[in-house]
Chain length 452, copies 2
């Protein structure tokens, strides 16, 4: 077996002594996280005189905005994910499947879970966010959140199994609890998930069971704040609420989740028996602040300068959901793909300029092109700079934009195929119960004789 590049040669390439110095060895840029921001940095540095290392815990870039469709059996994981290596074939890039566990600012190196230490001239932390259980970390296993592909598949398994178990259950209270789905948080993810679940129950599964009526499933969207889609204009939030209610989703605003256990939830002082709880509430930044040993800003983010670098460290960029970046109104920019992508493109430009010995001083500014959320068939909201759209127009626009932003022909074609098929047949292409937690043997607590 031969090595494409002998190890001792690569080991000899160390971080350059000074990032600004135009030394013989091109500067080493380490990008942690290959999400929307990290990918833009890497793509933007394709032709730049740098060596690039991309480190990610997963071997794929995930198109998060459609992950809820994996959780609700409409799409397959491979439709919304692309192998990072297939996107990083340019000669100056090196991809590592590993997990960063710390940063040594003084030594200019990151350390990884596999025990490696990697020196950098520029460090880009684009590690995204995690779901925040507000101090109740024990809720994470009881109420999974759609963050990774494995999370989405776990949610899909639980949702589909709940209908199967309900069909097998002899006890009526147990059946009702199995057919009750509680979603926590009515932001875009919660609204999209609630709409998709309602359509799954009312349309896709409607004719598939004999002993239960899936259409009677109770879908409860619980929100602590005063309204749904709080980040959208009130008119669009009101439309989303009406549309969800028309789909049979019960929406409880100004209602706080007080506890979650295996039997269900306590929300607004009332116990609700529910076997499936899905967490779509707040997020917090990944552990960048802890790695950098600094005081985190709101939601665990890292406060950065106008050029997205850490104060006093022009060689460290923090981007995307992990960074607290002030927008034009003085508020932090939201955790959107568009924000992360624009930050990534900006950081690539700054690094490329500096690596070429130029100075790049223009501050980052976010150009808001609008935000979108879909509720169901022919129903979406679009908050655009010059228009607020709802209904079929917004829905078609949402679909076009998502197809456009997907990476690669295969995924675009696959998503389009699945959507067309679902639109024509109300079917869901990925209604598979897979994974270890199948639990058939514990399908229901009754051990009675049944003769159909």
């Amino acid at each position: 077996m031969t090595l494409a590049r002998p190890l001792d040669e690569t080991a000899a390439i160390a971080a350059s002594p000074s990032p600004a110095a135009a030394s013989a060895t091109p500067p080493h840029v380490v990008v942690v996280g290959a999400g929307f921001a990290g990918l833009e940095v890497a793509q933007g540095l394709r032709e730049a005189p740098v060596r690039l290392t991309i480190i990610d815990r997963h071997n794929y870039n995930l198109f998060q905005p459609l992950l809820y469709q994996v959780a609700t059996a409409a799409l397959s994981p491979a439709d919304v994910a692309v192998p990072i290596r297939s996107l990083m074939r340019h000669r100056n890039a090196h991809v590592m499947l590993d997990e960063v566990v710390g940063v040594d600012r003084a030594a200019r190196s990151v350390s990884t879970a596999a025990g490696k230490r990697i020196g950098y001239d520029y460090l880009v932390l684009a590690i995204g966010s995690l779901y925040d259980y507000f101090g109740h970390d024990d809720w994470a296993t009881l109420a999974p959140a759609p963050k990774t592909i494995d999370d989405a598949l776990a949610i899909r398994r639980r949702v589909l199994l709940a209908f199967e178990k309900a069909d097998a259950a002899a006890d009526e209270a147990e059946r009702d609890a199995l057919l009750t789905f509680v979603l926590v948080g009515a932001g875009a993810t919660g609204v999209e998930m609630a709409g998709a679940l309602a359509e799954l129950a009312r349309a896709t599964l409607a004719r598939d069971f004999r002993r239960i009526d899936p259409a009677s499933a109770r879908i409860l969207l619980v929100e602590a704040g005063p309204r749904v889609l709080a980040s959208f204009p009130e008119k669009l939030g009101a439309y989303a609420l009406r549309t969800l209610q028309a789909l049979g989703v019960e929406v409880a605003t100004a209602t706080r989740i007080e506890s979650i256990d295996e039997e269900g939830v306590i929300a607004g002082g009332k116990r609700i028996a529910a076997r499936t709880v899905i967490w779509c509430a707040g997020v917090k930044a990944g552990p960048a602040a802890a790695w950098l040993d600094i005081e985190p800003a709101r939601h665990g983010k890292v406060s950065v300068e106008a050029d997205l670098t850490l104060p006093g460290h022009p060689e460290i960029f923090v981007l995307g959901d992990a960074a607290a970046v002030k927008g034009s109104g003085g508020k932090d920019l939201p955790g959107l793909a568009a924000v992360a992508q624009q930050e990534g493109r900006y950081a690539a430009r700054v690094i490329a300029a500096r690596a070429s010995g130029k100075s790049e001083r223009a501050a980052f500014s976010y150009r808001d092109k609008g935000t979108l959320a879909t509720i169901g068939r022919s129903a979406a909201v679009a908050d655009l700079p010059h228009a607020k759209l709802t209904g079929t127009v917004a829905w078609l626009f949402w679909g076009l934009v998502h197809i456009f932003f997907l990476i690669g022909f295969r995924n675009r074609a696959a998503v389009l195929l699945n959507w067309l098929w679902a639109w024509l047949t109300y079917g869901r292409g990925a209604r598979l119960i897979t994974g270890e937690e199948r639990e058939i043997g514990r399908a229901s607590p009754d051990h009675t004789a049944v003769n159909r």
Copy 2:
């Protein structure tokens, strides 16, 4: 919440006292297993005057012949699986996600893992086969076999992780072991898997790594018998061997696997360091013989009468891989989809006739339409009644037949899309490392400083 059919009503419907009697209650047909045979039985009884219950451990029907493409990242699970419920919407069918654990022949009932007892008038056991580790059950975790979707995903994870770990490994011997893949058994599955793995390494991954050359991966196909594709004519086996060798697969026939451990295998007296071992060797029937409390035939199968029923039990059918059915040459029919499907159609016809009070006496006879196996791009073998084909013609024929036999428009279109894209780009649409066993923290045993 309302029930489509109240429970107490269904509980009142018991097995009819005598299957032949044209009683007011239509006879209850219980089909265990929704594979190729079980599905044909259920579909064939659509219009028959029977009540139908289909029990399967999974919620999907799996198109086994293409499962190796899931294991090698070419297809997604949802492309080769269809929800059983979506195929069983006719009014007389009831689907149960459960696992049968026993049969009471005298009481005419089956018992399930969920503790249910289900009475039957006709019982169809179409439970398929399991991989046989020839008494070494401890090898199952060391060398997974592509039988279920979860198996295929585990193999995909191991294969893709092996390349990732090899890229990260500092030790040369470790790297070589990570880039060595041993496949046990050179029947159709082993040959197809070896060819797909070779193409994955030589074409798909070739440009994706910097520190290893994936094309240098060693793929070793080990077969205890004297040649590859033993069930095909010698000429076709010889073609498959040449094609595999041209793809860089090392084929070792007349070589027995003596042991498997975490370091690799001992085969033909020699130790081979390999971190990935895939089991494609013999199969044995599922536990139908044990449930029926009878002496199993060869490979754990159940010997049946000419009408595919258990001797002395005209109400119990055993079909597909679980049944020992003599072919025209006196040998057992092979474990092929076509055999299972024809047996399923036959059993449905017999049951429908008997349920209508007619007697159906024609013995089952298998009509051999040929067998196919693919080795790689433009390379397959087709053993047809009147022709032995190889090369591009056989490959196109193989593709057409498999698209045709897939169930449903969506899966046909999805597989076609993935194949076309792979053919054009050499890409694989499902190169995702997912699941619990990610083990990044243990990506390599070295804990050294690396500066790229």
